[in-house]
């Protein structure tokens, strides 16, 4: 059965890919076993991150983008992430609601994921899920992050192309300049551009992008000049321009060799994330709990406790 699933993923079978993503999310060891097998078949897809503050219209924009990419006969995988409750672990994943028109299109695969305790706007197994969709043969994989604030930019290390979605009337100029997000994007879109305040927001973004351009020490290695686009996703405005920009960015990355560099960053981050996750789980044992209890009782200090816990962890162990 395991071999059937590996073969199913490589043949692009939806049920097989869907099941492996579940395994990865649940830390079932069969998930990582499949990734070990299919990894050679990955590395081809363009991974596109869509991020921005809550309420910016990321899902609606994604829906419009998927429709436009389908018109160009590209196969699209979508990973839509919503927050899990830090208290119960439960989640309400509602991004599909805005993408219902693609439900029966065999060229589109949409998967909703809860963050499951992961900070940074992604879910624990987003990297792994991207590998599965890549092996299934999707040309583009769109990762829609949870609504993010000023520094949750893990998506930048996951995606080849990061699209930042803004909306009129959120925050002032200072907010825009200090936000880590704005330093990172490859493409900017102001959505809901029919709203009041669009011109002011556009001006702020334009100035910020200009500052970013002129304060750069070295020119962008891909020779890419960051576009600032306008969209009203609800009315289906701005889709072709966004798709053009994403595909042009891919061309620029490939022409300059930056595609391979960004892929390398991805893999590096994936590995480090797995190690971090594993160490964190290994550090939470009954013995380590006893160490932390000593700090709570103020018998030892936090630094000494951390050293004791690190000594307890040791090395080795198979990753799930």
């Amino acid at each position: 059965m395991f071999d059937d699933i590996v073969a199913g993923v490589l043949a692009g079978k939806v049920a097989a890919g869907a099941r492996v993503i579940r395994w990865l999310d649940d830390r079932d060891p069969r998930g990582s076993a499949v990734v070990r097998q299919i990894f050679p078949a990955t590395g081809r897809a363009q991974i596109v991150g869509i991020t921005g503050p809550p309420g910016a219209g990321k899902s609606t924009l994604t829906d419009m983008l998927v429709a436009e990419l389908r018109r160009r006969e590209l196969r699209v995988g979508v990973i839509a992430i919503d927050p899990s409750s830090p208290f119960t672990g439960g989640a309400i994943l509602g991004d599909r609601v805005r993408m219902a028109r693609h439900a029966l299109d065999p060229g589109v695969f949409i998967r909703s994921m809860g963050t499951r305790g992961q900070a940074g706007g992604l879910s624990r197994s987003t990297h792994g899920a991207c590998l599965i969709l890549d092996a299934m043969g999707y040309d583009l994989i769109i990762v829609e992050t949870v609504g993010v604030g000023q520094e949750e930019i893990d998506i930048v290390h996951l995606a080849h192309t990061t699209v930042i979605v803004g909306v009129p009337g959120l925050g002032d100029e200072v907010q825009a300049v200090k936000a880590g997000l704005l330093e990172a994007g490859d493409i900017f879109v102001i959505n809901k551009a029919d709203r009041e305040g669009y011109l002011a927001t556009h001006r702020q973004y334009e100035m910020m992008l200009h500052l970013r351009e002129t304060s750069r020490r070295n020119p962008d290695p891909a020779g890419w000049s960051v576009p600032l686009l306008r969209a009203v996703a609800q009315n289906n405005e701005g889709g072709p321009e966004l798709a053009d920009a994403i595909l042009a960015h891919l061309d620029a990355l490939e022409a300059s060799g930056a595609f391979a560099r960004r892929s390398a960053t991805r893999e590096r981050e994936h590995v480090l994330g797995l190690v971090r996750d594993h160490l964190m789980r290994r550090s939470l044992t009954a013995e380590s709990d006893a160490v932390m209890a000593q700090v709570e009782a103020r018998l030892i200090d936090p630094y000494t406790a951390a050293e004791k816990m690190l000594a307890l962890i040791g090395t080795g162990g198979k990753l799930k």
């Binding site: 059965m1 049920a15 119960t88 439960g90 309400i92 219902a100």
Partner: protein, 146 residues
């Protein structure tokens, strides 16, 4: 925290046809989230084909349909059949809402696993799902076949 993998129950909640009453399904969704379940909403005006496709892409364990304005006597059996035909017959299919007594035998026969009528306490639904899930995991079939 244990090192063993822990499966988190995933439930797809859907509304079929022209039924646009969303209060019930929203309340259920929040109750399930409180119980630590991952709930996926598909939105309104879904066809049985759309719900079956979403259930497979999302690899959920349970498909819950809220039905408050008839239409269920045709669309629900169709959904049950599509899930079976697409190799997803092991998913639990439940329905809640306004389901007249006389329709129930027909629905149960067509492959709907459980019917919750109006006035059901959400805690009863959560308890039912938790018991079903515990049993399914104990059988070791929860990661069943693809």
């Amino acid at each position: 925290m244990q090192d063993d993998p822990k499966q988190r129950l995933r439930v797809l909640l859907a509304k079929l046809g022209m039924d646009t009453h969303t209060v019930g399904i929203t309340i259920i969704g929040h109750a399930l989230r409180e119980a630590g379940i991952e709930v996926i909403f598909t939105g309104l005006k879904q066809t049985p084909e759309m719900v079956a496709a979403a259930a497979i892409q999302e690899d959920v364990d349970v498909v819950g349909v809220s039905s408050l304005s008839a239409g269920h006597t045709r669309s629900l059996p169709k959904l049950a059949r599509l899930l079976r035909e697409q190799g997803a017959g092991d998913k639990l299919l439940i329905v809640g809402g306004v389901i007249p007594e006389e329709d129930q035998p027909h629905l149960l026969e067509a492959g709907i696993d459980r019917i919750f009528t109006m006035g059901t306490d959400t805690r009863d639904i959560v308890r039912y799902l938790e018991e079903w899930w515990t049993q399914k995991q104990a059988q070791g079939s929860a990661w069943g076949h693809v």
